[in-house]
């Protein structure tokens, strides 16, 4: 997850891509601003961003939903709660962005929004787990 995050940031902010990944890809649907639309055809594309995106999602899913070392029903409940929480927060932020971002900025919002629900979930879940461990202390 970490390497794909770094690569993802590089892709987004510095237009980073590996040249050797320029290949023909199969597209179910792809429309071109200056050319014709492709339906179930081949098109040329640099697949750096695709690979990075897929790696990030797989990595984040593993981090998010791997079982804890001692997974019990309580941890499971915390997990569900965090997922619901992350969904709420994600959509509240999306509503906010709907109202206040336009044009290309909104495209960026959509790009980030693809990943934020997982990120919010991971942050909240591990935050709760760590806080619980801390609050236990040396109670008898």
């Amino acid at each position: 997850m970490v390497p794909s995050t770094i690569l993802g940031i590089a892709c987004i902010f510095y237009d980073f891509s590996f040249n050797f990944l320029d290949i023909k890809v199969f597209a179910i649907f792809s429309d071109d601003f200056f050319g014709s639309d492709t339906v179930f055809g081949l098109g040329k594309n640099n697949i750096t961003d695709e690979i990075v995106g897929v790696l990030f999602i797989i990595g984040a899913l593993l981090v998010a939903f791997s079982k804890e070392k001692n997974e019990d029903e309580f941890i499971e409940k915390t997990r569900w709660e965090s997922l619901v929480w992350a969904t709420y927060i994600n959509y509240f932020i999306l509503i906010f962005c709907f109202l206040f971002f336009y044009n290309t900025s909104f495209l960026w919002v959509m790009i980030f929004n693809m990943f934020t629900i997982l990120i919010f979930f991971i942050l909240r879940f591990y935050f709760i787990i760590i806080m619980l461990k801390k609050s236990l202390g040396h109670e008898k």
């Binding site: 019990d72 029903e73 309580f74 941890i75 609050s135 109670e139």
Partner: protein
């Protein structure tokens, strides 16, 4: 829902850690149940009752708000 898990634990003279290990849950779970923050599943309640050799009703009791 109220519970007297802490009392039962004191009678047996066993720590949260040890109880959690015996029952097979995390210490956070036991701690949260004692603080009335978490309502355990029926399975966990039955395991606890089995461990303390009491009925579930002796350990867990309903409150007015439930």
């Amino acid at each position: 829902m109220k519970n007297n898990l802490r009392v039962e634990r004191a009678i047996k003279n066993i720590t949260q850690e040890e109880l959690a290990r015996q029952i097979g849950v995390t210490r956070q779970a036991i701690n949260s149940i004692e603080l009335n923050k978490y309502v355990p599943s029926t399975i966990l309640a039955l395991k606890l009752s089995q461990y303390f050799n009491k009925t579930v009703n002796d350990i867990f009791t309903l409150e007015e708000t439930d």
